[in-house]
Amino acid sequence: MNTNLIPQRDPGCEEEVLEGEIVLYSASAATALYLNESAALVWQLIDGQRRIADIESLLAGAYPEAATLKADVIEAIEALHSHGVIHW
């Protein structure tokens, strides 16, 4: 995945935050999506300006002990994209 891409949130997406997790509802895709705590972190860092690499870098600074962090971020981004709640 090109980590210079800048993910954009689907503007029709509603979020419910519950104890660190998030449930998203995309009206355009008519689907609900559950984000565990790590995917929720990625979602919260998507602001329409940060590149994927910036998100990786921010999280790497916060969680230096996380060995699979980059792969986790990519996995979360891909899942969000495949469910239509972010686009480039």
Binding site: E14, E16, L18, E19, G20, E21, I22, V23, Y25, A27, A30, A32, Y34, L35, N36
Partner: protein, 283 residues
């Protein structure tokens, strides 16, 4: 039981009532078996009317919903099944201010236990087992939940078992009139499991249980995070088309205040810790 030659009965769920009218005593008895365990509804204009009569020429009964013949035939259980499905459909279609859920509902001391699972997850069997443990049955298939801390209501229909239900309850001596078979399912009156009074119309929100029954499975009972519980509820919303964002916000409101538990089990003998948890969580 003596039944009037002609009569009617209202049944409501989520603020919408339906009327079942009968025009002979045998049809009245049939209506009683279908909705006799459901608490009576306050007088209101019904959103649908079902008219039942015993056939005069061929054996059996016929049910009309307006001009539509919903069922005609000689199998009372098949007729009951068709009407139950119709009632649940109309309640889901008409419900616009709360969640109509594919879930069972039980209660103890007025506090609800929502049991949510797909068909075959064991909702009915678990409900029947809890009934035998002194819980009150409010339905095994469809319930209504207002968002947040609003009341819960269930459709108190006959329990509907799939497969070999009798093997799971070997101690029951079933009078034949309590049991009706349709397709691969068996409809059993909750009276057979010991429920001999009408349950309350609604109960307070309590706990949520997400069961998975599989013969031979190990027992496990785990608290699920509220986000996952929300998704379980969202998957069971039947009136999502009537709600903003398909009811996700309402489901989240419920999950924020009602603890949810994932249950796996393979036999009722394993369920003592479940009962302990449920009884221990009573306020």
């Amino acid at each position: 039981m003596k039944v009037a030659e002609k009569g009617w009965r209202l049944a409501a769920l989520g603020g919408n009532s339906v009327a079942l009218e009968w025009s002979d005593a045998a049809a009245g008895l049939w209506v009683g078996r279908l909705v006799g365990a459901h608490p009576g509804a306050a007088p209101s204009l019904p959103v649908a009317v079902y008219r039942v009569h015993t056939n005069r020429i061929e054996p059996g009964l016929t049910v009309f919903n307006g001009p539509q013949c919903l069922y005609t035939g000689a199998d009372p259980a098949a007729g009951a099944h068709a009407v139950m499905e119709a009632l649940m459909r109309v309640w889901a279609l008409r419900c616009r201010d709360g969640l109509m859920l594919h879930a069972a509902l039980m209660s103890k001391q007025g506090r609800g236990l929502l049991i949510r699972g797909e068909s075959g997850a064991g909702k009915s069997s678990l409900a029947a087992w809890l009934l035998q443990q002194g819980w009150t049955y409010h339905g095994d298939e469809q319930m209504y939940a207002q968002a947040s801390d609003g009341p819960w209501e269930g459709f108190v229909r006959p329990l509907c078992f799939k497969g070999d239900w009798a093997a799971r309850f070997p101690a029951l001596a079933a009078p034949p009139e309590s049991i009706a078979r349709v397709g691969g399912q068996t409809l059993v009156s909750p009276n057979l499991f010991g429920q001999d009074v009408l349950p309350a119309v609604s109960v307070r929100p309590g706990l949520m249980l997400f069961p998975a029954f599989r013969p031979g499975a190990e027992f496990s009972l785990q608290r699920v995070p509220a986000g996952q519980a929300t998704m379980h509820l969202v998957q069971g919303i039947l009136n999502g088309g009537n709600l903003n964002n398909r009811g996700v916000a309402q489901a989240a409101e419920i999950a924020r205040v009602c603890p949810g538990y994932q249950l796996s089990y393979g036999h009722f003998d394993q369920l003592a810790p479940l009962l302990e948890m449920l009884e221990g969580s009573q306020p």
